[in-house]
Subunit: 333 residues, 4 copies
């Protein structure tokens, strides 16, 4: 190989270093190899580096969860992140909590190969409907799971105190009644990690809360959580966000980051990682760049950020496995 | 041209009919030409046909709005849909209402060409932050607009009655104080079209409501809207949804469609149109197919549906222009 | 409405002007309305403005065609662009020419609704295979069409002169034998618009050329077209590209723009429009920004460019209809 | 946790099994954990399982390479796949070979953070152009690298025999002159793996071949490779394709699979894996489903296939690392 005369225009830039893969590679080693790569590979490695900085630099870590990650098999990954305090505050869609409870109650989600559709029979989704099975892309869940959920929730609502609950408090109360140690909500209670769900009304939990309210007393204050969420920003040293998918959790975390009173001269998140398949071209928040968030002051001008444009079910396990390996190595030293 | 011997395997299928474009084509004529095309073109034409069926067959029409459509210039299109009762019920993100009020208060959004970035200066979004300008993809808005919004909202909150408001009622109260005739919220009040916003807490309106609540009395019931929304489904003859972008509005409409009591043997939406750039592969609800919704019973087994995979700012004006032309022609006859 | 105090930070920026839609709108009027909008809407309007500049400023216009646009119903739109010299040079995938000839020979493509798949029968694509029907997303074509194509091509190959042909010359020879006036290849011959197809080997035309070569004489020079394509750049006053979908045609046009000798101080395309659903995040050329092409010198530093991130079957008819209307108005004046 | 009464409608379906991640996980273990997950995670695991089947069941493996994978850092991964005969036949875009040679000649690609753009300076890509630096998304390469490439290629062309070369033969000749052991082209020569590049004309190699032809003798037959590629299908026991990105390589492999004579009763590929960010909605081949390919007979009715909708720079290293681990374990047993 000839020598490369480094051109001065390229001063300060790192050369792409092609990754090599051996016979038995740990995920941490793989990610180290990806550090010298471009496109999604390099961004994935950068996400790990940023998350590692959050874990080692006394950072309050906010996790935003959107998309059906729990039914897709990410439940334990998320629960363990909470248990081991890889995250300090959770903001989620209601659906992920619904499916967390469903699994806690002993029901399961099932894999259904969707590419082999067929001719001469009943339309697939009509067939599923007739059999009381509900589909989420390539997985399905039985209506029975939702019946169990309903009974469970009404049982909890009955035992609540006669006071107004914030959504966070209501979710804590639910978590306290879950015995499944793999549950996100239970882990959150045990680890003292608050779970916020600003659009709870837009979920089966919200629906059953509302049904219960029609005949019984149940008071939920949707706005009160804002004080608590903002407080987590205000008392933080550094702050970081891990955004899975976008949606309301992304906006709610960023909104709190924007309005929280911070020490003089500081504003916005110090770190942010975003895993999403959405792209910015249609102007939607889910696909919006993290750069854009700097213009609002939601992310600080000097923050370290990266967006990995991929399905979170692919990127999240890799990031978590690499992080666990690196953190274990740090402990050993 | 030789004759085509129609193969029997193709029985019942329409041949693609290439569109021809003349020197002065109305949007309605263009869409008629697209009816014989495949891919996005054919689906756009099908969306118009389905919407036209909703408009002519006594259908309660639910509009879901997600994505920054109002700042992008769709505000009057949406307001006019309400005014002319092309929609009967609106479910939206808070952001679209925030920007509707901002424009009603005399502020504007501005276009910013983002492709020409530069070297040797200040990072663009940091520069914008320093100048109090906030970016949404290729448009910007000044912080001043949000200051006006705050003053306006607090003024309204002060004049509210001493009772608990549903979110829908709160939005009606705001709409009553808007004088701009192009405002979505004002049009909704004037046309008696309810506006629901289940994740209001996740918006500047929710934020200011919460700030106000810290020192003054303001009670908002987030769950109560469900009864009213479900009622719109229950009393409807036929039901249809126009989903722009997905998000919470899509889920909230579909959830109501699922749980609303309907006449014996009927369930789910009879029509559904979805305009979105999201695709189903990551399992997110925004990209989920309308077929999948049939398995849940959110859409009826025999419903007419179509998804147009495109930026709603492109597809919506075309659909609306074609519909207006067709409806005008029907009136003439 | 209150007055907007224009902030000086926004100096030079246009305010978003919400589009209004009347009862009978021409496509040209619609696009004029979109000029004041952001996101895809504004970009679509900008594409029309850039194309209009190409048509009125003595520009050699290169059209790149990738994706199955011909079977989808865009055949006449493309043929008419050639006939009316809205384009001067065409670079295409082989597939679009294959389907152009198939339609010229009297076969058709058929629409097939793909969302209604079914359970309990034969997998759809296996069923289609058994019935000799080939699928392209939501359209199908019968194997018989390819049999006719084969016979037609072999008939032409037999009548060719005993000399080496460039691909462009071979395509001209084919076009001369097509009687269907709506054919792209025939229109190109009649209008003296060259059609290049650098990856012809990767198509049924290339396949049949190769089969023919096994037993008969047929010589095709794949590299020779480069001189001719480059010549079109070199003699041009201004140059513009309309890129549909990306792929090899995009690269081939850009490569020629890069290496063509131009007058002192000029380099690269002066105008470029790109209609594609691909986005840049995976580093593929199809989704690459037009800004990136400036770093190579493929597009000039001061060129006017825009990418509309949408299915070309949606955007192309709108752009063409708006252009025809504007050009007709210019003629009248 | 309560027991799940398995509903009979779900008979035969596997329950989603949430993945757990320990402190030191190999990539193979991670992928095993993903097997019980849905969405992209489950598909990634399925891709590994299908590739493992190809490696253990005497399958001729065709690799299609599109997108700038070599400059992005995948060069050694691809070269090692060839060296270790994880692939038997390669079909690629010209660009990947161009960048393979560039690195073989001692030049490098460099990483450039693109998210931090700036105001008040020179547009980034114009700045790069002035400094003779070319950008591919978030990496750059200096023009000097292309000057070296030109000198190298002309030197090879001069030493070629006076006969007509197929593209495959020309690429072999180039590979024979490369001394860098990490080069894809050199590995292919050493391992006797043919490299096809049907659209070579659409690359810098094709460009320089053409320039050379203007003054010197060089004859390249573009069609002749088809016989050789088809032959690989015809003599194969089983056949499998790994498609990275789509484009011409995907089509060329599938076209050969379609027309290659096979034993009675067999047709199409037996295995296929596709890694791409493109989705099917715009009808482009790159995003087309592998199911669709069954209707053409390009993939057999009973083939095992999967599409992972993600950037190949993310998925490929994971798949390769997991495969190497599994194959090593098989050897040990």
């Amino acid at each position: 190989m000839m020598e490369d005369t480094r051109n001065e225009e390229l001063a300060g830039l790192r050369a792409v270093q092609p990754i090599r893969i051996g016979a038995r590679t740990t995920v941490g080693e793989l990610v180290t190899g990806l550090q010298g790569c471009a496109f999604g590979a390099g961004r994935l490695a950068r996400a790990v580096a940023i998350y590692e900085a959050m874990l080692t630099e006394e950072t309050t870590k906010f996790l935003g969860i959107a998309g059906a990650l729990v039914p897709a098999g990410m439940r334990s990954v998320l629960a363990d992140l909470i248990r081991d305090r890889y995250v300090d505050v959770v903001v989620t869609t209601g659906a992920n909590l619904v499916h967390d409870i469903i699994e806690a109650l002993g029901s399961h989600h099932y894999l259904r190969e969707i590419e082999q559709t067929s001719v001469g029979g009943v339309p697939e989704d009509v067939w599923l409907r007739r059999h009381n099975v509900d589909r989420i892309y390539d997985l399905v869940v039985h209506d029975e799971a939702f019946a169990k959920l309903e009974a469970f929730l009404h049982g909890i609502f009955e035992r609540l105190d006669e006071r107004r609950y914030t959504i966070r408090e209501l979710l804590t109360a639910i978590g306290e009644h879950i015995s499944d140690r793999n549950s996100i909500l239970r882990c959150a209670v045990e680890s003292n990690v608050p779970v916020f769900c600003p659009a709870l009304a837009d979920s089966m939990i919200g629906l059953h809360a509302w049904i219960y309210m029609q005949s019984r007393r149940l008071e939920v204050d949707v706005f009160a959580d804002m004080r608590e969420l903002i407080e987590h920003f205000s008392v933080a040293n550094r702050t970081g966000a891990i955004i899975l998918g976008g949606g309301v959790p992304k906006n709610f975390i960023f909104q709190a980051a924007l309005v929280a009173p911070r020490p003089e001269g500081r504003e916005g998140l110090d770190y942010a990682i975003q895993l999403t398949t959405h792209t910015p071209e249609d102007g939607s928040l889910s696909g919006a760049t993290l750069e854009e968030a700097r213009s609002w002051g939601k992310i600080s001008g000097g923050a370290k950020t990266v967006t990995v444009h991929t399905d979170a079910t692919i990127a999240l396990p890799i990031i978590v496995a690499a992080l666990r390996e690196r953190m274990a190595q740090r402990t050993v030293r």
